[in-house]
């Protein structure tokens, strides 16, 4: 518990605070006047009185730190203001979140299961065809970033073989079969890299464990090799793999940003890029803040899981902080 508190105070809160300040300031730093931006070009000729009144209404006459506190208060009550399109920003976010969660979920499931299975198969079948396949898969995915892999999958599976749609999304709740078809390629592009990293570590870790004495003992007492692996070798091999899984979660989060554009997937990444291109600053603020928040919280949860797995971290924590 003390560890959780310390992490909250020394990392989560400072990072979120700095992030919120940066995000708040970033919009203030943009050349151009917020009042002019708010009225738009159509009412170009506003007289000085109206201008002053608008500045006051928008809170721009107050000192900047007060403006920040007001903005922060709005954010904490989930009031992000309106987008340039007239829609409330929260509505845009609510529409985009399910798509992103779906994609990230599929990538995580695909990446973790495929990675574990491939890693175990490669270790068991060392030097055999499956091992070579796993090595090839790892080499491809580590050499090539997810969005390039995504483009390649699009060309091969969607254009040449015409098996999957090129873009778009169908919500899982409406038509599960069609939804999965749309999810397959982006899921593979994102999950493939995760699977590659996890399979590499699983293979190595399992092979290391197989050299331990207690595995020889298990063999000697006549267990089948399946039982040896499933009952004795697998569990201790998983500790480094869990570490990698945690790191991969973060990479999936930033991966979705780009992958969504490759597959024109209507998630948060797409919303953010559209907002940047349209200079829709309220949406940029809200989306980046949300993404940073998720990122930091996921990292915190991952760290807490390690603590559960390995109590040494709890004690070593203060030494590491130095």
């Amino acid at each position: 518990m003390a560890y959780v508190l310390r992490r909250l105070i020394t990392q989560l809160i400072p990072v979120l605070f700095v992030a919120s300040v940066l995000i708040f300031i970033s919009v203030r730093l943009i050349p151009g006047d917020p009042v002019a931006a708010a009225i738009g070009d159509s009412m170009g000729g506003v007289d000085a009185d109206t201008y002053e009144r608008l500045r006051e209404e928008l809170g721009l006459t107050r000192p900047i730190y007060e403006q920040y506190w007001i903005w922060l208060g709005d954010v904490l009550t989930l009031d992000f203001g309106d987008s340039l399109t007239g829609l409330p920003v929260t509505e845009i976010l609510w529409n985009a979140i399910p798509a992103s969660v779906e994609l990230a979920g599929v990538a995580i499931i695909l990446g973790f299961t495929l990675g574990l299975l491939l890693g175990i198969a490669a270790a068991v079948n060392r030097g055999g065809p499956l091992d070579w396949f796993a090595a090839g898969w790892t080499g491809w995915n580590i050499g090539v970033p997810s969005f390039i892999a995504g483009l390649v999958y699009l060309i091969v599976f969607a254009v040449w073989f015409d098996l999957f749609p090129v873009s778009g999304r169908v919500p899982l709740t409406e038509d599960p079969a069609e939804a999965l078809k749309h999810l397959a390629l982006p899921g593979l592009a994102l999950g493939g890299i995760v699977a590659a990293n996890i399979s590499r570590f699983t293979r190595q870790s399992l092979l290391d464990t197989m050299t331990e004495d207690y595995i020889r003992t298990a063999r000697a007492k006549g267990l089948t090799s399946t039982a040896v692996i499933a009952r004795h070798a697998l569990r201790p091999s998983m500790i480094p793999v869990v570490t990698i899984m945690g790191l991969e979660l973060a990479s999936i989060l930033s991966g979705t940003l780009v992958i969504e554009t490759v597959f024109t997937w209507p998630g948060l990444g797409r919303a953010l890029i559209n907002a940047v291109n349209n200079r829709d600053y309220t949406v940029i603020q809200a989306t980046t803040l949300l993404l940073v928040f998720v990122f930091v919280v996921v990292n915190l949860i991952v760290d807490l899981v390690y603590v559960g797995l390995d109590p040494r971290i709890r004690i070593g924590g203060s030494a590491e902080a130095r």
Binding site: P145, S254, L272
Partner: protein
Amino acid sequence: MSSAAPAGQVETPQLGDVERFHFLRFAWSELRAIMREPRGALAVSVLVLLLFFAFIFPLLDPTDPNQPGDGPKNGDISWDNPMGTDHLSRDLLARNSIGLGRTIKHGFVAVLVGWVIGIVIGYTAGWRGGRTDTLIMRGVDVLLAFPGIIFAILLITILGSGIFSVAVAIAFFNIPGSARLARAGVLRERERDYVLAGRCLGLSGARILFRHVAPNTFGAFTVQVPLAIVASVLIMAALNFLGLGAELPDPTLGAIMQEGRPFMRDAPHFVIGPVVILALMLTSLNFLSDVLTERLDPVRRRRV
């Protein structure tokens, strides 16, 4: 080649010249060692070919990458256009070549600037120690806790989209890693006897740090720099693909992919070109970094 030197310049040996000579010889012997490894040789050859394609080829091929040609739009691979043409019937071979050159140039400069800043920050933190160290490293930690691409997007929001903003974002992206590495190196070297000897001789702190300590921290950088270039080129291509580094009509690899994305079904060659080039480049850099790691790591080095 000495005849090419300006007439008035007399070649007098200086202290700096001697060190520079050693560095070149060191680099040359490293390169030869890398070339002895099959993977290293492959990586270096591919990289040399790519450099040729990016910087020498445009001099030989007069096609203007931004000039719409007379050929068909989204034209297939042909003798005139070996990589096909794009949606404005511009020659994709020329565009990819220029695009690769811009990607390498900007990526390289951005990584260099980022690393120099990061290393100076890291040296300062490690050398000064105490409160300066704590303060700087806290800042670095916060920077690390940010997902890199979101930070880049925020920066680009402030600076406006364009290749310069992308380069600034890449430079920032490289600061935390290099700062940590530099600090770790200085912390390791700081307590060595030669530092004490330098102090006894009355050398200034900056001189000891930059003349004597810094060279001993460079080893760790050689492995990390290729990886940093991989990550930076990747982020850069991604940002350009997202349309954030757009300075049309000048191409970058990412921008060509973005332009080709809508025509994927009818003209797959449009996207395949930059994808293959980028994949080749990133894979070779990864190989190179692997070979360097193995050379520096005596446990993993097979031949001594």
